[in-house]
Amino acid sequence: MARATSPRVPEDPAGLGRARAAGIAAPALLVVAAFLVFPALWTLYLGTTNYRLTGFAARHPRSVGLQNYTNVLQDPDFRHSLWLTFEYAILSAVIGQAVLGFTIAWLLRDATGWFKRLIEALVLLAWILPSSVVAFLWVAMLDRDAGTLNALLDTPGTAWAIEHPMAVIIVFNIWRGTAFSMLLYSAALTGVPPSQLATARMFGASSWQQLRDVVFPHIRGHILTNLLLISLWTFNDFTPYQITAGGPNGKSEILPVYIYQTALFDGQMGLGAAISLLMLVINLVVALVYLRLLRERRQDRVAV
């Protein structure tokens, strides 16, 4: 189609010649190869061996074919961990961060001055503090004996991180990551034409109707982009390890923690590499689903 309408694309638009163009691109390609392609292939290779951190298999790894994959897929601990990861990503990011972030952005859309800046600063603070510092604060807050939360709620002796480990890391991640969604939605909301909102209000649309019929169609692309980013970040998030260490007894062992325990704690590097690759594939699938949704949206717009 393009060929029929546009003028013929010249073979060498930059006028460099094939060899020089290749020469200019080569350093970038080498960097990509060294830091992206090679590690990926190396992980792929490691995943087919019994390579370990210590012991005989550290010096003489042996190829085990697909055994790592079959073993891990049959391992109930792995399936449990995968389930926990989805639970964590969906509840804390897709629902928690996105909804709370939008709510704050929506409520603050007309606010100005110090009030708005104060709220934004507080939310941002959770986001910009180093995760080890934040985790330490949370551990202290949730502590069974001298924790702030037990003092506030008058629940002495409740070991929150042990009795409700998943709830703790989900709330933690909502608290920590909401700032990004809030900022992104704040920016997106400024792009909604006030005239359309005013019109909707004039015709007596309720708040929910305004959101549904005016706001969401305008910021759908932003929502999808936000969901894509925060789901992938959360899916790969290791910070919960600093709060619960995956425990107790694996009850909050999400995949990144599971891989850490397998590869570094147990020293099974080959098996860890295999699980990492599985995780990469899951990431790709999630990303593809979102990108497909985004593309459909663009086509919608063209159709309109």
Binding site: T54, A58, A159, I162, G247, G267
Partner: protein, 464 residues
Amino acid sequence: MAIGAAAAVLVAGCSGSSSGSGSKPANVSSANQPKNPTLVITANDIAGGKNSNEATWIQQTLIPDFVKSEAAKGITAHVTFRPNGVDDNSYKSKLALDLQSGTGDDVFALDGIWVGEFADAGYLKPLTAVAGPQVDSWDGWSQISQSVQALGEYQGQRYGVPNGTDARVIFYNKKLFAQAGLPADWQPTSWQDVYDAAAKLKALPGVTPVQWDGGVPMGEATTIQGFLPLLAGAGGTLWSNGKWIQAGAAFKAALGFYQKIYGGGFGDPVLQEDAKGRDKSFTEFAANKIGIYAESDYMWRSVVNPKGGTAPMADRDTAVGYALIPTEAPGSGVKGQSFVSYSGGSDWSINPKTKYPQAAWDFLAFLNSKAETESRIGGAALITARTDVNQEVLAGDPMLKFATEKALPVTNFRPSQAAYNDVSNLVQKAVADVVGGKSPADAAAAYEKALEALVGASDVAPGP
């Protein structure tokens, strides 16, 4: 790597022997020995934190003494200490990753049970291969007993110089015992005696009667402090005659002890599941909130020690009692014993890739000399590797005297097999399952299945 090792042998072979006492200048004849060696040494010690006394001693005494001693031989040594203050598993991972990537420090401390794994991986080489034949002619070996030397050996070769050993006992809080109407000089003779004392302690408000390491976060402490003395007390071992042993009656009996403690309300299972559970339980013991606690003498000298302990008890000497760990019933332990203990210990070893193997060996020999060992004791009494030092200094500390004279004769050592640490992980999972509420039979069955998958069914044999 092979070339490096060969060069190391050449360099080392040319030099004179290092002196055991470290005070007299050795006959350094070799022109090949570098005159300005640089050494970085590391251990899981940090001033103000874990093993604080040792870290302080290394930095303020050992290194200056060593530099002075080398200067007397015409060598200008630069030695720095890289401290760590993390749990043992993290230290192990870091050490292994450093060695694997070729960036490990020249001299490092490692737990005796890691020697096999590290040697198999090529991270360690026999000391003679690294530093030459003068390793074997070191006069210090004659002062280290065979069983302690084994902490640094693997398949008959020396990979490290043992730093010392320890023993497991039961500590108890005499103040709580008095309140509960229990004797001040308590010595249980069966597991039932422990349960009975726990039942009395339970009547005291805010007190956890028993702390018996039993969670995955406790790491190796669960295995050596908690499970292995129980297994030995029921007549079992993990490894025997070249095979790993199935989870038989003794294994299930040891798990049954955990079920009794944590299912019966005597212990605090939440403390076992806490990622910081070990440090927290130390703090609670020091705060008179735990009645009975199974630990190594580390507890006495590095935790509740009023001088430099991580959870110091000012009245340690009068408030903390100690007793031997009883078997399930009198005479039911391994070798028909009525009391059991388990011992471990760490080694100092040399990175095979060090540029200065000679200086590194000099450092190890100096570190373990009589004079330096005594200066280390000055900070914190402990059972050293050297019998000459032990005879002199342990008499001054009743607890360590007790550990040496009563617990060491009935002690056991863990199998020095490369697979030990993986098996230990399985043990920890089995114990954690029972603490978490699973039945001993189910946990033992899961252990047995995982053990066969790990080492192969042909390397597993039935046992007691």
